[in-house]
């Protein structure tokens, strides 16, 4: 007797809807076991992770602040993954965007530059992120080099470049030798939505990106082409869609969004350029994209959920001394369960009684 996988005649709509919920349930179950193994009270730990951040206004704002880059990057990545292009270097595009935008902030520091500074920073960051993402796209199309590996290698290069800038030419002379630029001027800072709060204008941009992506995918021909090229490459060829052009487009858009997220993070919550501007947003966004089923609205919800896990992880560390790495384990397990549950949309399990007829026929 054996458990085997069998392709469904058509994809199951019910499972497509509930599979992320099953995945979250299984993840929480696994976390309970992990907490118990670490010698922590699982119920208290779950409370610290998922309930405590929802109970005060400051943490709620902080969730929205953390979800902003995650959602923006994940929307771009979802376009790539829908078109079957594997950009996994969003972390690097995020950093390059932050660096490019900061260049204007650093150069205009202390001058009487006007209100054009912040818009210019955003545009330059998006352009730089797009260009940086085009490197792996072009290497793939022109030379056939794996975009997975090249985009990832460029993450390390971007991190080192940022490190060089803040330790070298851009270091704040009054910064007591810390590797950071000076605080950005007010005109180079993303404005807050509530005076004295944490929520900033970047979250509004993220929401606009979600809406734009939803319209692109559901109501435009380009969106249709992206979905067809990924789901049925042969049909797309017969339909005369230009797959190469779509790879360029999706890489450029995802790079631009990651770059934009980078400068918003630096000119918003952080306020200056420094190493370690991202706790792995570019990689967590991959989980957000899949947990949200590559769907804009789903990504918005998934982004908020993973932001909750970041904040919850910090609170659990303060309240219960649970190591921060638990959050990474949580995210990894979650992605595995999401992928496993997604498999059940296309396949189902079947019990097979070991090829009895074959044995009989042979005997």
């Amino acid at each position: 007797m054996q458990l085997v996988l069998e392709r469904r005649a058509e994809r199951s709509g019910t499972i497509a809807l509930v599979s992320p919920l099953i995945a979250i349930g299984l993840t929480i179950l696994t976390m309970v076991i992990l907490f118990a193994m670490l010698g922590k009270n699982p119920l208290l730990a779950l409370h610290a992770y998922f309930i405590m951040p929802l109970t005060d206004g400051y943490s709620l704002q902080e969730i929205a602040v953390k979800a902003t880059p995650l959602v923006m990057i994940a929307i771009g990545l979802s376009l790539c993954y829908l078109a079957n292009a594997w950009n996994i270097g969003a972390e690097g595009q995020f950093v390059i965007g932050a660096v490019a935008g900061s260049w204007i902030a650093v150069k205009t520091q202390g001058t009487d530059a006007g209100a054009w500074v912040l818009p210019a920073m955003l545009i330059l960051a998006a352009a730089a992120g797009a260009l940086y993402a085009l490197i792996p796209a072009i290497c793939k199309l022109k030379f056939g080099a794996s975009e997975i590996l090249t985009s990832l290698m460029l993450v390390y290069v971007a991190d080192l470049f940022l490190d060089y800038l803040v330790r070298g030419p851009w270091r704040d002379p009054q910064g007591f030798n810390f590797p950071t630029t000076a605080e950005f001027d007010p005109v180079a800072t993303v404005p807050l939505l509530i005076e004295g709060g944490r929520l900033h204008f970047g979250s509004v941009i993220a929401l606009l990106v979600v809406v734009a992506a939803a319209i692109l995918l559901r109501h435009t021909i380009k969106g249709f082409e992206i979905r067809v090229v990924g789901a049925a490459p042969r049909a797309a060829r017969f339909g005369g869609f230009n797959a190469n052009q779509l790879i360029i487009l999706t890489f450029a858009v995802s790079g631009a969004l990651a770059g934009l997220a980078g400068i918003i993070e630096v000119a918003g919550p952080i306020g200056h350029l420094q190493p370690g501007i991202s706790p792995g947003y570019g990689f967590t966004a991959i989980i957000v994209a899949f947990l949200g089923r590559l769907n804009p609205l789903g990504i918005l919800i998934a982004g908020l959920f993973l932001a909750l896990s970041f904040i919850g992880g910090e609170q659990a560390q303060i309240a219960m001394k649970i190591p921060l790495d638990v959050t990474k384990v949580f995210q990894g397990i979650l992605l595995l369960y999401v992928l496993a549950c997604d498999s059940l949309v296309l396949y189902r399990f079947k019990l097979v009684f070991a090829n009895r007829q074959v044995t009989r026929g042979a005997g």
Binding site: V4, L5, E6, R7, L38, W86, I88, I135, C139, K142, F143, G144, A145, S146, I148, L149, T150, L152, M153, L154, Y156, V157, L160, F161, D163, Y164, R167, G168, F283, I286, I287, F290, P323, L324, D325, V326, T327, K328, V329, F330, Q331, G332, I333, L335, L336, L339, A340, D342, S343, L346, Y347, V352
Partner: protein, 305 residues
Amino acid sequence: MELVEAIILAVLAASTPLLIAATGELVTERSGVLNLGVEGMMIVGAACGFAGAWLTGSIFIGALFGMVAGALMSLIFALMALGLAVNQVATGLALTILGVGISGLIGAGFLGERITPAVHLYIPVLTDIPLIGRVLFGEDGFVYFSVALIVGVWWFLYRTRAGLILRACGDNHVSAHALGYPVLRIRTFAVMFGGACAGLAGAYLPLAYTPFFIPGMTAGRGWIALALVVFSSWRPGRLVVGAYLFGAVTILQLHAQGWGVGIPSQFMSALPYLATVLVLVLLSRARSGGSTAPAALGTVFVPDR
């Protein structure tokens, strides 16, 4: 003279983890499976390897811990990508994210601890030969094992029937299945071999390269190992050349930083990563006539019954 010898020794030490991890991944990919989780398996191998050596005081047991940890991680991958027919690229990424977290959890208890690193071979007279003595007769066990490993893999793939069947699974799983070979079981073994190698390669870092564990100490070596497999055109012989070339680039940039060449150190540190991109581009271009990758690499296989 002594400087040359020191550089060769350093290159060998830097190349060995790349060679071991890439050898494992080569076997995995020849069976038709693309496991992008090498970095994750390596970092877990590093944490478990160090834990094993620290607890037992034996480098050998530490290395075994690393191998078992890597194989267990790869078993998760096999369960997902082979058992549940999940997209291999996404599963591999998930494995790396998970691995970074797990290694942080395990390694947290051992931060700041030190062990006695793996001993180097010493044969009187032979090891004392100038220039080549220490290179040939004065290495640690990992270096010799890595050479034996790649020779063994070459022999297995090209000189045994089992190796032929494994390659057949990688080139055309439908035909291999039609001939009656258990494609998924063969692939599971190949994936676990790759995992054990990645775990061992990770364990090499805290057991022989530096005598302590730091989080994230693999620093992208798992990804470079993946690129090396592409570089090698999936052939063991070229893999050796590639691994030592990359080791040389790593060591040269370190020395260049020491010599105080007027280039910022961050640019030198970026060299191995940039070299990887460049190599991928040049090689993929040279091969425009046709891909040398296993034909079924990375594709999902669900046998008909």
